[in-house]
Symmetry: C2
Subunit: 301 residues, 2 copies
């Protein structure tokens, strides 16, 4: 796959995702259910959902659906559901009682724009709307119920939320490499995993393919975190788009504080190869995701 081909496919996915994301938080999507409260919430939800990050999770949903023989368009509501959960978690994470971050991706965070109460409710709204969106998909009731159940488990207290709690309690403590891995696996890993799994479910994939998707995601998720830690010490504010050095300033235990930059890089490269190996059962069709794994491990921001 040429760089150009990859970029085209990726850009097409992101375009579809951005269009769908905008629709699901628009007045059009709520015809006949209007209220003054809804209006205020749509505005706040659209602000955060539109302030797009890399859209890795929804891209995984769409590509795994295609890779498992489905029409990726059928999986768009699943993809948006995953992105809504990711977005709500950032809104709540930024609140003063959590990380107290005034900025998110170069823009004022939700509570700086809409106030704390509305940011809290917009987060609740996106979390709830994620399930409405997944359950409104034009696929069988069986697939919808399965995808929504997986999403609830991954996003919940035994998944992402559990990881957030662990992250909060790790603050200011010396944390072992195993504990860091366990925290990341839940805090970010579970939502990456379930985004891919929902794509597989949309395509009616068998358990072998779902297991391959999970293995791929586990490894790119971990590599993603390691690269994050490396960039925090090797990058600069302008390239990274946020202040570097925050981990050491917060005396946070990271892969880098445990292994150093060089060994961390080696580790990231190694698990990126493991991620790519998990794609073997898809043959040459796995090329896009193989390239994606490389890109994520070589990224500069």
């Amino acid at each position: 796959m040429t760089m150009n081909d990859f970029n085209k496919i990726f850009a097409n996915y992101v375009d579809e995702i951005n269009k769908a994301a905008a629709y699901y938080v628009s007045a059009d999507a709520f015809k006949g259910r209007e209220s003054s409260g809804l209006e205020a919430m749509l505005d706040a939800m659209a602000y955060s959902l539109g302030n797009g990050g890399k859209r890795i999770r929804p891209v995984l949903t769409l590509e795994f659906c295609r890779l498992c023989g489905g029409d990726y368009r059928a999986a768009i509501p699943f993809a948006i559901g995953a992105e809504m959960i990711h977005t709500y978690s950032l809104i709540h994470d930024d609140l003063p009682c959590m990380d107290n971050d005034d900025m998110r991706r170069g823009k004022p965070s939700s509570h700086k724009v809409y106030g704390e109460a509305n940011a809290l409710l917009a987060g609740d709204g996106l979390l709830t709307l994620a399930f409405e969106t997944v359950l409104s998909a034009d696929v069988s009731a069986d697939k919808k119920a399965k995808a929504a159940l997986e999403l609830a488990k991954a996003a919940g207290v035994s998944g992402m939320i559990g990881g957030q709690v662990m992250d909060l309690s790790n603050e200011g403590k010396k944390v072992s490499l195993d504990e860091i891995r366990a925290t990341d696996r839940l805090k970010t890993g579970e939502m990456i995993r379930v985004a891919a799994v929902m794509g597989c479910i949309a395509a009616g994939a068998d358990s072998e393919k779902i297991a391959a998707a999970e293995k791929y995601c586990e490894n790119i998720g971990l590599a993603f975190q390691i690269v994050d830690d490396i960039l925090d010490v090797t990058s600069d504010d302008a390239t990274l788009g946020k202040p570097v050095g925050s981990d050491s300033q917060n005396r946070k235990s990271t892969y880098v504080s445990h292994l150093g930059v060089e060994k961390s890089s080696e580790y990231a490269r190694q698990i990126t190869e493991e991620a790519k190996a998990a794609l073997d059962i898809f043959g040459s069709e796995g090329e896009f995701l193989s390239e994606l794994a490389d890109r994520l491990s070589e990224r500069k921001n």
Copy 2:
């Protein structure tokens, strides 16, 4: 139906609800999915979910399931899902950035016990677990998907959350009776309605029965609010279990501030009769819910 019969049925439902609620936030329910983060959350979620209110919503789920010819036990996960959403909304409502309430049902509110960050996350956790619980029910995928979708719509930005936003923006303003009704219909009415509708769905009820359930709920929900407003001016702290006079202190527009106590009481009685009339299609089987409507309108706290 004698007072004794009603009390027995009600107590049996509440007993089943309390047992199931305790189970769904216990370590047993999460076997094989343990983490240190999960443990902290289960504790906080159990604290609030166990601090039972009247359990009106889940009782409606179970009784409407029975009334529509189903086995009410099949609807227990739907009933608990509704109660989890109700509970999360109270936890978030009590947070300092919202109503800033230190007490809830005579006990310290969640953030006073667990801190703001954990209370926020416990609320998120209950909201997410509500969907996991509904989608884990032992009924057809079709019923699960339908119930979870209805729940998401009722709890979301065009439902309960939209009503919360309206309530926040009504604060300190003179609000018309129509606006009060519109706010209450979303803020509390939608969750009461969907609790009943999920019971109907569990039983496979037809649209005529679902419409009757909705009509009953709309009226008892409205009556409930009116009685709340009346008790705030006619009761005393000890009987009510919370400080009276808060509405006038907050200069809140209420049914009573618009209509006075006497006309409000009359209005509550009138719509309670409308609620009971909606039960006609169920014949003598509707007796329990008819009695429930009377009890709610005559309650002293």
